[in-house]
């Protein structure tokens, strides 16, 4: 087992595209779930409409900047569509509607009917060339030792982490303002917030829209990196990755989603490396085959997540005393 290589690969993931994408996605989800108390189980839908908004616009001959705007606009419209009928109802309804909406959206874009625009099950490829044409970084390797990226990846990562920083600053500014105090009040008790003159529905809708727009940003970023949108990559699992990131980092903490994403992808790849090399070396006997790596990894991850929920429900950066209040 080459522990060095496994570690390098884990670090590469922790600082790489998936971590940046999930940091963004989780920042959006954290605004909705951690600060406003909205159970959005369809966060993947905002990532999907962002990616498709961009890909379809460029595919139809539009410029890339317009595609980026269309992706954001699509996410805002989706949030309106989901939020207006459900946000006046109890929290559980939003959860039900959003998880269904995410799947409905995926089935629509992969359908034969939508194929002229979405490319059906094959999706849309190679729409981000203008983005890579803008790359100012000269060819070469950038990094330390074996932990290095080529110019293309370095450009993607530079933009990705800049977007993470931007999303972070946006949410931090909002949360530290009276607007943020109002949405936290709504998370604690909607009726109390209403009795104090707060437009609960309006705030929840705003939070859903802003979180959705940040989710779309993450979806577009992933799609640009892969030069590819495929309907079946937008499965509910992505939402639950984002929730895992939020929970590891601590719901309702500003830096939680960012650090949570780094830790999540580090552990995810580390586990992958250790399990695959353990199976390859035959340490598991004939219990597992190399094709079982994914499944075994998820078993460990599930157990790990449960342990976090039991022993550190506030995550890495949540406040313990806040968690204790829930027990009262």
């Amino acid at each position: 087992m080459d522990l060095g290589k496994i570690l390098i690969d884990a670090l590469r993931a922790a600082l790489g595209v998936p971590a940046a994408a999930y940091a963004m996605s989780a920042i959006g989800l954290n605004l909705q779930f951690g600060y406003t108390g909205l159970l959005n189980f369809g966060h993947v839908a905002s990532m999907a409409v962002g990616a498709y908004g961009l890909a379809i616009t460029v595919d139809l001959g539009g410029p890339m900047w317009l595609g980026l705007i269309m992706g954001i606009v699509a996410a805002l419209l989706l949030a309106l569509l989901l939020g207006v009928p459900t946000l006046r109802l109890r929290a559980d309804y939003l959860a039900i509607v959003t998880i269904a909406a995410g799947e409905i959206l995926r089935f629509i874009v992969r359908s034969q009917w939508a194929a002229p625009f979405t490319g059906g099950i094959f999706g849309i490829q190679r729409f981000a060339n203008p983005f890579f044409a803008l790359n100012p970084i000269p060819p070469g390797r950038y990094g330390v030792g074996r932990l290095a990226w080529d110019a293309r990846s370095a450009w993607v990562l530079l933009v990705g982490w800049a977007l993470v920083a931007l999303s972070f600053l946006l949410v931090a500014r909002l949360i530290r303002s009276p607007w943020g105090r109002a949405i936290r009040a709504i998370r604690e008790d909607e009726d109390a917030a209403m009795s104090l003159g707060k437009n609960v529905f309006g705030y929840k809708l705003q939070s859903l829209m802003i979180g959705g727009a940040i989710g779309a940003l993450s979806g577009m970023f992933l799609a640009i990196d892969q030069q590819n949108v495929i309907p079946d990559s937008y499965i509910p699992l992505l939402t639950f990755y984002a929730f895992t990131v939020v929970i590891i980092g601590g719901p309702g903490s500003l830096k939680g989603p960012v650090v949570g994403a780094v830790v999540f992808w580090f552990l995810f790849e580390l586990l992958d490396g250790i399990i695959s090399s353990a199976i390859a070396q035959g340490w598991t006997g004939n219990l597992f085959e190399t094709t079982d790596v994914g499944a075994v990894k998820f078993v460990f991850f599930g157990v790990g997540l449960m342990l976090v929920m039991v022993f550190r429900p506030q995550g890495m950066f949540g406040k313990k005393e806040e968690m204790l209040l829930d027990a009262q």
């Binding site: 909002l174 607007w179 105090r181 109002a182 936290r184 009726d191 209403m194 104090l196 707060k198």
Partner: protein
């Protein structure tokens, strides 16, 4: 003891007109299934008084509160605050119009600090809108609001807890906080739903003093209460509900002796069966 009020001249009969009503309720109805939870023909609440709303369990007191404050949908009727129609207006707008209510089960915003709880009550903070929050320029108002909040907290003896999470307060302290927070709204009319429920006698006395202070500062108070001693002590006027209807109203002394009220509490035919 009730102070000298213009209510001395008012006839103690249900639905009677008051000289200077701040709240006027007309034909408000609400039924759940076949049960008429609220069926109030006419009610006026005199400005700058303490009016208590009493009645047996299930009389419709809280439902009436919910209707008037926009927390429940009415089936029929109208009501006006200071001449302005409030019918069908969402709860948050009712609060902004100056009519603030509290809840039977205290609703502190547990994971906000005591001071933050207070600041949520302030109505004049432009930073609560998304664009102002983003562009800035709300800090000076925040400073004013913090001063106002601290003064109120001091009055309610909570100033030392300002930075504690509200969820860590005792039950009694939460009652005080909820009342103080309602005052941050600068209400004209305060509706308190059983403010003394589950509170120890010492704190009850202190809450009574606070409620009287509200009236003396020019606010109007309506409160739901079960303890007749408390009602006798601080009310200027008492309204009695039973089965959704107002069956009696008048000064506290008059109500205590009213046979209809005794009937409502003890059952209609208690006299006949001994």
């Amino acid at each position: 003891m009730p102070s000298e009020t213009p209510l001395n001249m008012v006839d103690p009969v249900p639905g009677v007109a008051k000289p200077d009503p701040i709240l006027v309720v007309d034909s408000v109805k609400r039924s759940f299934g076949g049960v008429h939870a609220v069926d109030v023909h006419h009610l006026e609440v005199q400005r700058e008084t303490i009016t208590s709303l009493i009645g047996p369990n299930g009389a419709g007191k809280t439902t009436l509160f919910n209707l008037l404050s926009g927390f429940d949908r009415h089936d029929d009727g109208t009501w006006h605050l200071d001449g302005g129609r409030l019918v069908g207006i969402p709860a948050f707008r009712v609060a902004r119009r100056g009519m603030v209510r509290t809840f039977q089960l205290t609703r502190s915003l547990a994971r906000l600090t005591v001071l933050e709880n207070m600041l949520v009550g302030a109505q004049n903070q432009p930073g609560e809108s998304f664009w102002v929050a983003l562009t800035g320029g709300w800090q000076s108002r925040e400073k004013e609001n913090i001063e106002k909040a601290m003064a109120l907290l001091e009055r309610f003896n909570l100033d030392k807890m300002a930075d504690e999470l509200a969820g860590s307060l005792s039950g009694g302290q939460r009652k005080l906080l909820e009342m103080a927070r309602a005052l941050m709204v600068d209400p004209e009319l305060v509706m308190l739903d059983e403010p003394m429920a589950g509170v120890n006698p010492a704190l009850t006395q202190s809450l009574l003093v606070h409620i009287q202070a509200l009236r003396d500062e020019g606010m109007t108070v309506i409160f739901i209460e079960h303890d007749m001693d408390v009602v006798q002590e601080i009310s200027d006027w008492v309204v009695v509900m039973s089965q959704g209807k107002i069956i009696a109203e008048g000064p506290p002394a008059h109500i205590a002796a009213n046979p209809a009220v005794i009937d409502a509490y003890l059952g209609r035919h208690h006299g006949e069966h001994g």
